[in-house]
Symmetry: C2
Subunit: 457 residues, 2 copies
């Protein structure tokens, strides 16, 4: 964890920002796979980690701004538990390490909150994303799950802090990015036709674990890159396939890396693969060039989409005016997701607090297919960390649907597109920090151009 | 999944066993680590898997014995979801594969159950172990979490089936055991002083993943084997350390393997390590020799404890009559856990249904330290699959506590024990099937004797 001053300053800033009320922080509990004691790896809630630094189950915290109190609710281990779990710092000692002086048994939180309500204090909590949070909010505050919306002032205050990464946070993110890069480089070296996808995953995850990292999200490693939400790893890789990887490491402090790469199963890209890869590469490089404080990330997304349309026109897959095509949303047939998202303690940073607040500052979002998947639209600011990950996909189900609906026939050459339905998908992804003057890539470089990729094959 | 007849027969047997009432099966949902969409690997509830074979989130099922209905409640994917997730069998098709003809939207389960209650039918459900189960039981049946005890007839009927593994189940368990053995053998080959524990874990997990397996539980791989609940992997391995591993693979069908081994960090055990290892080995071999239908597993546990006491007496660590020592519980200073547990779709099979029913047939358990941790006490029967995992540990906190309390001074030579407080712990573990005439080890053999272990170092 960071020095206690870090957490004390973060809490002081939060209190100042909100001014009054009682802030309730729900830590995460263990979650059993198939019975209570066979648990998934433990992951603390990121906002809890940010303000309290303690990564252990069974904790809640209250910042009572009105009474100027900071309390962690939790229970000391019994002597029996110490016999089984070994001696370790007491909860009291752990709290001291993050500058918390007051501790109460977990059983007392409901009555503490009840007294706050009686005194007419406002109770703020963040939107629950785990069923255990919902049970607690119901139990402690009597709010049924359907009405547990979270406090907008609390949400906005947290986002106003967590969006700007400090130097010590950047160090941690960069460690995660370095390991993430090594995972991708390893995959580029080991991938061969006649391997199963899961064999590649095994080599990548080994790199994460051998560096004492967890995965920041479930690895995508697939010959079906056109299927965007795809965690199946059971396919045999065949000559001629494109292999798409989206994977990242999480360091012990909880910070994430997130990169993507696309590799030919063979030693070289085919001519057809390379032509589309070059377009995706141009989208990526042009987007990176545009990164600077003040530019709305939605503008960079649109730039990347225009670069794609120009490239697809040159291949005969699209036609018409690129700007019109992107405004109307025709590009989304091939590029149905966004250009990137915030990254930090969460790989999609603060996604549990709501994309509308994190990426749109509360302004309404487009409902257009493709554009609506852009998670980050606001002007970039120094201290933001985000991904750059344009993609090009040929999704048979989507092509069939749009073609049947005669959608965007002014912009899309469906006859030509039909001949690419077996192509798959391409995505590359890097992580950037916005600086005072521009942007800086975080972590070791992964191969990005076709030449760089082929050099490792 | 198995052939549809397997699931149909299992359900038919369950209906016959219970005779009447409505059985509610809660499938597991996805669980988000740090926001809703960043999920842990998906794991279906094992009882749901056993009777319905479908490993996907968002499902519930009802067997209405009174009306002779079998219904799966769930929702078909939207066209949007198919675009993102690729084309796949419909839920309707999946249900057909497991012999289920009736499907209803998930939103209708509450009203279906309500009608059953109105008609005076008994609703049976199993004890919830995930918070999402608790929310559903509250929402659908109005039962608050504190009173969601589960139906004993339902629990007993499920145990009466799942305790006896069929031939096709044994095949799956044995696949899991083979991969599990390879994980251990790999660790034995790669472990060297100056490695971090997590580097060994990385090599072991790579073996699981390269065989398309998940982990059946969080790997223990530690130089502090005396700490029984220990998933920390951050220590550097030093010359002279003992390294204790407890790890297992889970195959795609959900069946688990579970083995333990103990390896010297150096190429050979030291004399002191070998002496204790030989005792643990004798406990293991004597236990395996005793396995046969009809013998209460509690008797085998007590046999293993007596073998230990005899060995510890020879080393001067214990004294007195072995039988008396074990009856009174003095052995538990060094052997505080049980000899083994059922294994199948869960690594501790059916633990969510309650140890009292799974391992004790509803009979009261001992409250004695050590003996109370024996999860399986009943007579063994053909078709049972269980682990054999005696252990010997020197737990400084426990030694200090007992010594201060002057506990069992007739049986324990505390002065000598003091000199072993830096020893660590030893456990070896194999998985056995009880046959008509005895028992059969499942999966590839892992090195067990000191000579076998040293041969791989």
């Amino acid at each position: 964890m960071f020095a206690k001053e870090t957490y004390m300053q973060r809490r002081a800033l939060l209190k100042k920002k909100l001014g009054s009320g009682v802030l309730l922080f729900l830590g995460n509990d263990e979650c059993g796979l198939n019975y209570e004691d066979n648990t998934f790896r433990y992951r603390q809630d990121s906002t809890f980690l940010y303000y309290f630094g303690l990564s252990c189950a069974g904790l809640s915290a209250i910042i009572d701004i009105d009474d100027d109190k900071e309390i962690i609710f939790g229970d000391e281990l019994s002597i029996d538990a110490i016999v089984w779990m070994g001696s370790q710092p007491t909860l009291h000692e752990k709290c001291e390490r993050v500058g918390i002086k007051e501790m109460m048994p977990s059983a007392e939180i409901a009555s503490y909150l009840h007294k706050c309500v009686q005194k007419g204090k406002a109770i703020h909590y963040l939107p629950p994303y785990r069923p255990e949070h919902k049970l607690k909010l119901m139990d402690w505050l009597g709010i049924p799950p359907a009405r547990q919306d979270g406090s907008i002032p609390f949400i906005r205050a947290v986002i106003a802090q967590r969006s700007y990464k400090s130097e010590e946070e950047i160090v941690e993110i960069e460690k995660a990015c370095d390991v993430t890069a090594d995972m991708h480089i390893t995959a580029m070296k080991v991938l061969r036709p006649e391997m199963y996808e899961y064999e590649v995953v095994a080599e990548m995850n080994r790199v994460a674990e051998a560096n004492n990292c967890e995965l920041s999200f479930a690895t995508i490693a697939t010959i079906n890159g056109q299927t965007l939400h795809n965690h199946y790893h059971g396919n045999l890789v065949k000559p001629g396939d494109l292999f798409l990887i989206d994977a990242g490491a999480e360091v012990e402090m909880g910070y994430a890396g997130d990169m993507s790469s696309t590799i030919p199963a063979d030693k070289k890209f085919t001519q057809r693969q390379r032509e589309v890869y070059e377009i995706q590469n141009a989208m990526h490089l042009e987007s990176v060039k545009a990164l600077r404080p003040g530019i709305p990330y939605m503008d960079v997304y649109e730039l990347s989409a225009r670069v794609m349309v120009d490239g697809m026109k040159a291949l005969g897959l699209m036609k018409g005016n690129a700007e019109d095509a992107v405004r109307e949303g025709a590009h989304a047939l091939f590029y149905p997701h966004g250009l990137g998202h915030m990254m930090g303690l969460d790989v999609h940073d603060m996604e549990n607090l709501g994309e509308l607040w994190v990426g749109y500052n509360g302004q309404p979002k487009s409902t257009q297919f493709g554009r609506k998947s852009q998670r980050l639209a606001i002007p970039l600011e120094p201290g933001f960390v985000h991904t750059v990950e344009p993609g090009i996909y040929f999704i048979p189900e989507l092509i069939d649907m749009w073609k049947a609906e005669k959608k965007f026939t002014d912009f899309i050459n469906y006859d030509k597109v039909e001949t690419y339905k077996d192509f798959g998908g391409i995505r590359n992804e890097e992580d950037y920090l916005i600086t005072e003057t521009g942007a800086r890539r975080l972590g070791k470089k992964i191969p990005l151009t076709p030449e760089e990729v082929e050099a490792l094959r």
